[in-house]
């Protein structure tokens, strides 16, 4: 097969699968739906892996071509096209692999759900949309994929559409993302205006010439065009990758079924913003201001969202806040110009976070869809596979040496330390402090769920058992890369230049150059990892969690009481939701009501329209005799009037 055919099949297989499972849901039945969609995504994964193999192991020339022309207007060609380089190949493989695992897992997780086929249709559609996003070679298709994954996320968060909390959450998710897309769209418009194209390659080529230009936006203040573009685009990333203050939708997205929390709201879609900034690194490298902005936003998210994770009791919400925090780490890496490290963490995180979510899902199945960790405990004895894989995911999450998360997180911290730009000091503090916090909430979750005495009621406990193989197999298959993928790939990806055809930072600005001076192979690096401050900070977090949640449960309550104001602020998530609900939503609706009632009804209709109508009415009351109330009389009168006008005009002219 021709390589272009293969590349086209990769997104189209899941699209076709989605159509079959969705539109022919009654014809194909449940087994038909999951067979078709799993075959589709499995095929897509196999082809992606093959492409990745070609890209990383052969002398691959970056492939950048047009699939079809979307529109040609005003000298601009808008197109759908693919850019296949190392970054794309990596993303395609990660996306299709996690998606494949989640598809299999779903057979077990959703087996009693009446919307079984619909669910498979949606996750196949999601895979298509995400692939279109990462394979894009231009901003138009990026935006298409961007909003398409948003659509599927909306449909999946609201999958159980009877549940008020679910449909509230999906509307919130879509609208918050739209607020981000508002920035993204303006950024795209600026790109077109100043670079004259939406094609990545052409934009990158034109960017250096634009670097010095300024534009006047806010009352005569001159902005660097490049800074405007980068920040506007990043606002889109803040929505999709849930960075403070546009993060509020992600915890609520947990209202959706757990498989999609793993796939969309942890491993793939939410990393689209990270991917985009890395993809556009040639632009971001031209604006130090934008990078500082990114660095600070990422640092805030990494630390403060992790803190909220400590006080959550819903197992999925702990993992969700952990996701926010980890996305913050990736963003920090972007801000430090360590784009490839961000992508590396994106990849390792995709595996271990999908694993943790699916593990949480496995627990939720055993607990009969209860998610409160206060009613769990001691589950390790009942579900050993889930417990062991959850431990593996947790160790990777806290960055225990040799696990996948260790390599990516450690190098992020090292990169931030050597980054030389505004905000780097704060970011360094945040990522160090974040290590303690991560270890604390992660082990709190492990202990509360799997260890100690069971707090579940007897009824639930009597039914609790290890999940079926369709659930545990994906856990095992995700646990393997969570352990080894970092050790295997850190050297080629970060120091071997495997991503250099996509991400290229000038050596003087590249933090990896400094980090690389101390890097002598993955094993040596990991061994050294045991004696770094980062490791001891993580152990501190683990120790606190062990003491409080395993040995002295009373301490937690005491601390909560002693530090009540702090606890309250964390519990209310810094009042972001209250603020948005009251000020933005409440204010918007008040404004809407005011415009509708006072503007349209009172001012325009009341005064202007009916006011003049009354005036006319007064004048024409003498003509009242002509009004008969029959419509056709009016219609007839109109035509007479028309003829009379023309006639009058004839006379005038004659």
């Amino acid at each position: 097969m021709d390589i272009k055919t293969i590349l086209l099949l990769i997104p189209l297989l899941p699209l076709a699968g989605s159509a079959v499972a969705g539109l022919l849901r009654h014809q194909v039945g449940r087994a038909g739906a999951h067979s078709v969609t799993i075959l589709a995504v499995g095929g897509s994964f196999a082809l992606s892996a093959w492409v990745a193999l070609q890209v990383f192991t052969t002398d691959w020339q970056v492939l950048n071509y047009t699939v079809y022309e979307w529109a040609v207007v005003d000298g601009i060609t808008f197109e759908v096209g693919f850019l296949i380089d190392s970054l794309t190949a990596l993303m395609m493989t990660v996306v299709t692999f996690v998606s494949f695992m989640v598809h299999v897992y779903t057979i077990g997780y959703m087996k009693d759900d009446p919307g079984y086929q619909r669910f498979f249709s949606y996750i196949n559609l999601f895979t298509f949309a995400m692939l279109m996003l990462v394979m894009a070679n231009n901003f138009l298709q990026l935006f298409f994929g961007w909003e398409a994954v948003g659509l599927v996320s909306y449909l999946l968060i609201g999958f159980w559409f009877r549940k008020e909390s679910a449909v509230r959450a999906n509307l919130k998710a879509f609208l918050v993302n739209r607020a981000g897309d508002f920035g993204l769209l303006l950024g795209v418009a600026a790109v077109l205006m100043y670079m004259g194209s939406l094609d990545y390659a052409e934009v990158f080529a034109a960017a250096p010439d634009v670097a010095g230009e300024t534009m006047s936006v806010f009352g005569g203040i001159e902005w660097s065009v490049m800074t405007f573009i980068c920040i506007a685009l990043f606002i889109g990333a803040m929505g999709k990758s849930a960075q403070v203050p546009l993060h509020v939708w992600l915890p609520d997205s947990m209202e959706g079924p757990t498989p999609i929390s793993a796939l969309i709201h942890a491993a793939t879609m939410v990393t689209a913003g990270i991917f985009m900034v890395a993809r556009l690194s040639p632009l971001y490298e031209l604006s130090g201001t934008a990078l500082s902005f990114i660095l600070i936003i990422g640092a805030i998210t990494a630390l403060f969202m992790g803190l909220v994770g400590i006080v959550q009791n819903d197992i999925k919400r702990v993992v969700a806040y952990s996701t926010l925090s980890q996305l913050g780490y990736m963003t920090v890496a972007l801000g430090a110009s360590a784009y490839s490290v961000a992508i590396f963490h994106l990849m390792t995180h995709a595996f271990f976070k999908a694993l943790l979510f699916l593990g949480a899902g496995s627990v939720i199945i055993a607990m009969h869809h209860k998610q409160d960790m206060r009613e769990m405990g001691g589950l390790a004895r009942i579900m050993p596979i889930t417990a062991v894989t959850a431990w593996i995911g947790s160790l990777a999450l806290i960055g225990f040496p040799f696990t996948a998360g260790f390599f990516s997180k450690d190098i992020i911290i090292e990169s931030v330390k050597v980054a030389d730009r505004t905000g780097a000091g704060f970011a360094t503090f945040a990522v160090y402090a974040g290590v303690v916090v991560t270890a604390l909430y992660t082990f709190r979750m492990l202990y509360l769920t799997f260890h100690g005495k069971s707090r579940a009621d007897a009824e639930t406990l009597s039914h609790a058992q290890e999940s079926p193989w369709v659930v545990t197999l994906p856990l095992i298959l995700l646990a393997i890369p969570s352990l080894f993928i970092g050790w295997l790939t850190v050297e080629p990806l970060l120091f071997g230049g495997a991503l250099s055809d996509a991400i290229n930072v000038a050596a003087a600005r590249d933090p990896l150059v400094h980090v690389g001076e101390h890097f002598h192979g993955a094993t040596a690096f990991a061994l050294h990892g045991f004696v770094t401050p980062v490791f001891w900070l993580a152990m501190l977090g683990v120790a606190i969690a062990t003491w409080v949640y395993l040995f002295q449960p009373s301490v937690a309550a005491a601390v909560k009481q002693r530090l009540h104001p702090v606890w309250a602020v964390l519990d209310r998530k810094y009042f972001f939701d209250e603020f948005y609900q009251r000020v933005v939503v409440g204010g918007g609706l008040k404004l809407a009501g005011f415009f509708s009632e006072r503007g349209d009804r009172t001012l325009i209709d009341g005064w202007m329209v009916h006011g003049s109508a009354r005036l006319v009415g007064a004048v024409s009351s003498r003509l009242r005799t002509v009004q008969t109330g029959f419509l056709y009389h009016y219609a007839f009168a109109m035509i007479i009037g028309l003829v009379a006008l023309v006639f009058a005009f004839v006379l005038l002219k004659g």
Partner: protein, 506 residues
């Protein structure tokens, strides 16, 4: 110039009118006959537009398929038809929507033959208006069109239909009087009503401003633009489903078409002088009306306000040219803006038509347009919910649907004119999604709200047909707008050339 040897445009215009008049006399007892004639006639008209499109030369801005005959010699008024890339897509849209309303109106019980007749006549008149190349002929179609729509709302409308029809009539008639005066004045200058002659007529700046204002009033009411928009929600609420569909899908496009065919080319310097006014009103429409839509409790009103807000993109896109030239010193982006406006008109035809049909589907079953009368409809009508989510997503400008294309192009062009134009226009991303998806949430999601919703039955075959057709067009135009834009491009480019050249008397 006529690529065909037979008067295809006249057939497109007059076939529905003749068939429509014939059906008017079909008695109630033989309603099936009337419906069949209506369906056949509308399908033949659609087929004729497809023939016209396939024979259309996409490489030229010249008028094609022209037909010309003297009508009133004393005033050199001609029966003159012809189409270019601006009008042919609108004629095709008219023909398509007519087929849709005929199918959708199949179950009408009251005076069904007359109902079908009125729609066919209306369809022919609208096509005639788009195809007219003589200003007086245009005016006659423009006014005549009011009559069938007036009757459709007045006879098959809701309880407050009389008030709504009077408001509808007064607004539009009020506007068109100014246009008539303007046309007569132009005739006195040019000695001709031929659109082409008027385009070439040199005029002083002062004269252009007056002409521009006279036309603006007529077209602004039709679009409708803020603040002369309040007739539209009332008309929609009272109109029967088919009336709303035609009103939103086709009649609102008359204003936009008037701008590109009359206002801009006849008075380009006037338009350049007053572009700030139109752009300002467009942005008010997008933002202010977006908020007003959010406050609506009646589904039809909400969609009506949404239409006004979306039409803001049409007028915005059309008037960006002058600001772009002023800001960047060149015309790059002007074609993008006007093409975007034209695409938005076609797209809105599909989407608003589909949304009004969706409300009709619910109204036929429950007899309420109130959002609060529903809830959890997706439980009992899952397929219908799928279509509704698609169309409301399209309405909120989702990429991949036609709703995205025009807005995207206009926003890109607006950025070239002024950052703030793009900023306010882009607010539609948030506002459009808010009112569209909030409606979806309240009507379709949640538990089954009441017994009415519990007893709903999913789409019937006829409803499926119209939904599928509109879904195909919405997605087709969203995924591949290339052919439509290709068809328009020469005419739009020609228009931009024309309006950026001054017409002021030396």
């Amino acid at each position: 110039m006529n690529a065909m040897n037979w008067p295809i445009l006249s057939l497109i215009v007059w076939l529905p009118i003749v068939a429509g008049v014939a059906i008017l006399f079909v008695s109630e007892a033989r309603a099936a006959l009337g419906k069949t004639i209506a369906l056949v006639a509308s399908l033949v008209a659609l087929l004729l537009t497809i023939v016209a499109i396939s024979g259309f030369d996409m490489t030229t801005a010249a008028m094609q398929f022209q037909e010309k005959a003297v009508w009133i010699e004393a005033f050199s008024i001609h029966y003159h038809l012809g189409v270019d890339g601006l009008s042919l897509p609108l004629i095709a849209l008219t023909a398509l929507i007519t087929v849709i309303v005929v199918i959708a109106g199949w179950a009408i019980r009251d005076r069904v033959s007359q109902y079908m007749g009125a729609f066919l006549i209306l369809s022919g008149l609208m096509s005639g208006m788009f195809a007219a190349l003589d200003a007086m002929l245009f005016y006659v179609f423009f006014e005549a069109m009011l009559v069938p729509m007036f009757l459709i709302i007045g006879i098959w409308g809701g309880p407050n239909r009389i008030l709504a029809t009077i408001k509808f009539f007064l607004f539009t008639f009020f506007g068109s009087v100014f246009m008539l005066v303007g046309l007569i004045w132009l005739y006195l200058q040019a000695g001709s009503f031929a659109v082409a002659d008027l385009h070439q007529l040199p005029l002083s700046l002062n004269a252009q401003i007056w002409i521009f204002l006279a036309f603006l009033i007529a077209f602004a009411v039709k679009v409708p633009m803020w603040p002369v928009h309040t007739w539209l929600p009332d008309a929609h609420v009272e109109a029967p489903t088919g009336g709303s569909v035609v009103l939103a899908a086709v009649m609102l496009k008359i204003g936009g078409y008037g701008f590109v065919r009359y206002s801009l080319p006849i008075a380009p310097d006037g338009a350049a002088a007053l572009d700030w006014l139109v752009i300002g009103l467009s942005l008010v429409a997008i933002v202010y009306i977006g908020f007003v839509a959010l406050a609506q409790r009646d589904m039809k009103k909400l969609i009506a306000y949404s239409s006004i807000s979306h039409m803001g993109f049409v007028t915005l896109g059309m008037f960006l040219t002058f600001a772009i030239v002023q800001n960047t010193g060149q015309t790059d982006g002007a074609v993008l803006g006007i093409s975007g406006a034209m695409v938005q008109m076609i797209s809105h035809g599909f989407i608003s038509g589909a949304m009004f049909l969706a409300v009709g589907v619910l109204y036929d079953r429950v007899h309420s347009r109130e959002i609060s009368a529903y809830g959890g409809v997706a439980n009992t009508m899952p397929w219908f919910a799928m279509f509704a989510v698609l169309f409301f997503m399209a309405n909120s400008g989702l990429p991949g649907t036609s709703g995205f294309v025009g807005e995207f192009m206009v926003i890109l062009a607006a950025f070239k004119a002024d950052f703030w134009f793009a900023f306010f226009a882009a607010m539609t991303l948030i506002l459009g999604a808010s009112y569209s998806l909030w409606l979806v949430k309240r009507v379709f999601y949640g538990e089954v709200a009441n017994d009415n919703v519990a007893s709903l039955s999913d789409l019937g075959a006829r409803e499926w047909t119209v939904m599928v057709v509109l879904a195909v067009f919405t997605l087709g135009l969203g995924l591949w707008p290339y052919p439509l834009i290709e068809m328009m491009e020469p005419s739009v480019a020609n228009l931009v050339d024309h309006i950026t050249t001054t017409k002021i008397n030396p």
